[in-house]
Assembly symmetry: C2
Homo-oligomer: 308 residues x 2
């Protein structure tokens, strides 16, 4: 197998915490360079910008974009124009429509564009999908509550326009939801709580449904201290399924039926290597579309200012 | 030709101002009934709700939904389930994803779902598209400024979540833009001005572009008194094209080249009759997607309260 030579662009928390180790663990993938304004990794070629990387860097086949979403589209376009495969961290963009030209570029150049949703690769997600496929679903409730100060320290971009605020983790829940349910869902109502000094919501309540009227609710909150929750509870006519820990643990009526260590990012890179072998793309915009709809039709309330 | 027997659902300003006259003028279309909480038309069967219309009304083939967008999805689903063709006023919904199940229902039932964009049928729009197709475009500026008190008297729904505010007319400009430009555009920045007492913006500034970096700007304002503007100015290497009057007038370097009386709604019903003859659908969500993206990535500022 030819190695896929990958450069990471944007070397912040997620790149260091997840991407470096995952690339090292996946056969066929090699970390070849890093482009980042400030950060680098000893022993690896380092460039300040993606333009410099593409112009002066070592030969690479692909870039993995771990920069904030606000700058990622232009970087993806530059990489595709240079003939590189592109992997996008979630969310894939600051808007839905900006992905269309990238999809067209990738198709024309026969290069891979891979919009990742890491939570979909959590170990209990596929078992949950299979279990639900054979049941009659009565309702779904999502509770995704975490302390932003613990999980997103100093990530100022998250509060800027396009940064998504609490939807940055919340979109992970929506990426799981849209994978495990048998029918597409859409947002019918939303309430978004904006801190008086921020351009992105710190909390959100969503009501969704599908063509059959399935009741789905979601509570996202960045202000959670104490116990954190990344849970999806599905009531069915054949019992209650609980998917907790962000998709890592599945229980039926409280009894664990699936649990495994997290390999989300390794799965992403395994898939990226497989996609790049043929130049196929994988871009599912359903989760981002739900967030855009929540902003479009949501009621906005202003809450107390947030100070990091 | 068999007549398409149409019921209008929602008998407000747009239904009275445009739909009744257009149906009367288009061969093959007949207004058969009206469903509206309060309003009716002498000599026509009247029902309070779409459910009552479908259950107790005269035989109809189609419904034209002129209700506010917040209630239209459920009405469209009910009509499609009853085997009727459905025409949607713009915007086609309060969110983008809610259209998917309707599109699937229509396809399965072999019924027409027609998401209309009346401004695309303004007389100078097609000439503008053709003229631009042969030119090199340098920039686009949209100025869509009208007095909400004149054009939307008492339409409280416009200020509620899902009501779009100034994007209710603004989406008309975006529907023309996405028709006349040769390549798809996307929003890169937006500023939305929300009155302190409203859930929808009263003004908006948008920056858009396409894959080639074309500069596109748009100014939407509901607070315009004095001269109103519904203009799109396109600078090309072969001169300036001005599309004004909401698409009714086209000029090159100030010289009129196309102008005709408004037949927008007649064109819509001609197309609805043609689509229904085969049960084909026509649902282009590009304009609504641009608005959703503007809400998603836009900067919000609070401005003085609006009192109708």
């Amino acid at each position: 197998m030819t190695e896929l030579r990958i450069a990471i662009v944007g070397f912040g928390k997620i790149a260091r915490d997840q991407h470096v180790g995952a690339i090292a663990a996946v056969p066929g993938a090699t970390l070849t360079a890093i482009a980042s304004r400030n950060a680098s990794l000893p022993g690896l070629p380092h460039f300040a910008t993606i333009e410099e990387l593409l112009e002066k860097g070592p030969p690479i086949d692909a870039v993995s974009l771990c920069t904030p979403p606000q700058v990622r589209r232009a970087q993806a376009a530059a990489a595709l124009a240079a003939g590189k495969h592109v992997m996008l961290e979630k969310p894939p963009g600051t808007g839905v429509a900006e992905l269309d030209p990238l999809i067209a570029m990738a198709a024309e150049a026969k290069r891979t564009l891979f919009a990742t949703w890491h939570s979909r690769h959590a170990p209990a997600v596929e078992p949950a999908r299979q279990w639900l496929a054979a049941r009659r679903i009565k309702s779904v409730h999502i509770s995704w509550k975490e302390d932003v100060r613990v999980w997103h320290p100093g990530q100022g971009w998250i509060w800027e326009p396009g940064g998504l605020g609490v939807f940055d983790p919340g979109i992970n829940a929506l990426s799981i939801l849209t994978k495990i349910l048998p029918k597409p869902v859409f947002v019918t109502a939303a309430e978004l709580s904006f801190p008086a000094n921020c351009q992105a919501p710190i909390a959100a309540s969503l009501t969704l449904t599908d063509i059959d009227g399935l009741p789905v609710t979601a509570e996202f909150d960045f202000r959670q201290t104490g116990p954190q929750s990344w849970d999806i509870v599905v009531e069915t006519e054949q019992g209650r399924m609980t998917l907790s820990g962000g998709g890592r643990h599945m229980a039926i009526e409280g009894k664990t039926v699936a649990e495994a260590p997290d390999e989300e990012y390794r799965e992403l890179y395994r898939r990226f290597v497989a996609l790049a072998a043929t130049g196929a793309s994988d871009v599912d915009l359903a989760p981002l579309r739900l967030v855009a709809d929540a902003f479009l039709l949501g009621r906005r309330i202003v809450v107390e200012p947030f100070v990091d």
